[in-house]
Symmetry: C2
Subunit: 202 residues, 2 copies
DNA sequence: CCCGAATGGATACAGTCGTATCCTAACAAG
DNA sequence: CTTGTTAGGATACGACTGTATCCATTCGGG
């Protein structure tokens, strides 16, 4: 039955059209007709594959979360080869910051969704999963690193992780608003990782 | 000529009605008619005191910036009495985080404006002034503190300030989305100030 | 063959939006 | 007293919104 595949593929195309609009013109510019035009289909098709605008929006947020997750996992997997805890943190935090055009667009859309979620509980429910998972993952890693003697014993792993993630989020904001370049943000993160783990391996 | 006073007062009332809507229901819920209803006036009055919706939105952002500025200056002035650089930083960063109901509402509106500014250059121009001024102010302070021996000489004041402000912004996000409590955010900031300045004065 | 389901084009509907226009009052200056 | 400006009520206009309906295809299983 190839129908289901086509169906999912169509939905994926529409979701991507939605995210393209949201990341370049903002979430308030997203309308059924705009998505149809962006995807090159008729309004009816958009209605056909998504019952609601709400369903469409939630699909966009889910896709966005999946992309972030993919980026982080990919970078973390590469860095895990080095085995140094600092490398893992640099990779994960580096994956949060917008580092190329696509991740910058995704970060824009993510920010738009985050803001919408502040006044829309339905979106909030979908959006908090990923950040929490990340925080837990990194906390486990850092606690282990501390027991292995990689960071000083007077550090609090939970607070350190929360701080680093908040730092990365704040830096993402400043990069998106062009207050700071990507390189400057990376430098700030490295600076903090140096103080936590000691300077990067030579 | 009491007219000008009345005029400004009216504009202030309408701007506050706008911010009330933006902070509770989001910027996309802000319409001329909604503002009129919230302020208890007719649509014509809103049109009369603001030529455009754009003008109204910019007025809201300006007012929001003024409130933030007032909060920071007020806290900083109180803390400057103690004369310790750490106290100044704790006060300023504490003023950025939402610490009561009103500042939480303002932070919500600020976030909404920040996101809108990402895809609306007109708003971006109005909004970047305050963050830059804050960053410069704190950098000057921290550089002076370093020359006075209050922080270690191997610290980079510019990077430290940028990091602390990004941290405060990221923590604000997590507090607004109820991922973290205000107290937890304060604790994280204090933790970082401890590492920068040494533990708080007894 | 044919008939019901999947697919999608065209159009309609009831709201809401920002903005514009028309028409009163009130009041200050001549 | 008149006249012009400030202030605001009532209403209209065209554009756009999400959603619904009607209709024509296409196609696989009986």
């Amino acid at each position: 039955m190839p129908r289901q595949v086509d169906h999912d593929e169509r939905r994926r195309q529409l979701t991507e059209a939605l995210l393209r609009i949201a990341s370049t013109r903002g979430l308030q510019a997203v309308s059924m007709r705009e998505i149809a035009a962006e995807a090159g289909v008729s309004l009816r098709v958009v209605q056909y594959y998504f019952t609601n605008k709400q369903a469409l929006l939630e699909s966009g947020l889910t896709e966005l979360g999946a992309r972030m997750d993919r980026r982080v996992k990919q970078r973390a997997a590469v860095a895990a080869g080095e085995l140094t805890p600092r490398g893992v943190f640099a990779a994960v935090l580096g994956a949060i910051l917008p580092f190329d055009e696509q991740s910058k667009l995704d970060s824009m859309a993510w920010t738009a969704y985050y803001t919408a979620a502040l006044t829309d509980p339905a979106l909030a429910a979908v959006g908090v999963t990923l950040p929490n998972a990340l925080e837990n993952f990194l906390t486990v890693r850092l606690t282990a690193a501390q027991q292995a003697g990689d960071i000083a014993p007077d550090r609090d792993p939970r607070i350190e992780v929360a701080g680093l993630l908040a730092l990365a989020n704040g830096l993402t904001s400043s990069v998106l608003s062009r207050q700071r370049s990507h390189e400057a943000a990376i430098k700030i993160i490295d600076y903090h990782l140096d103080r936590l783990f000691g300077p990067a391996a030579a």
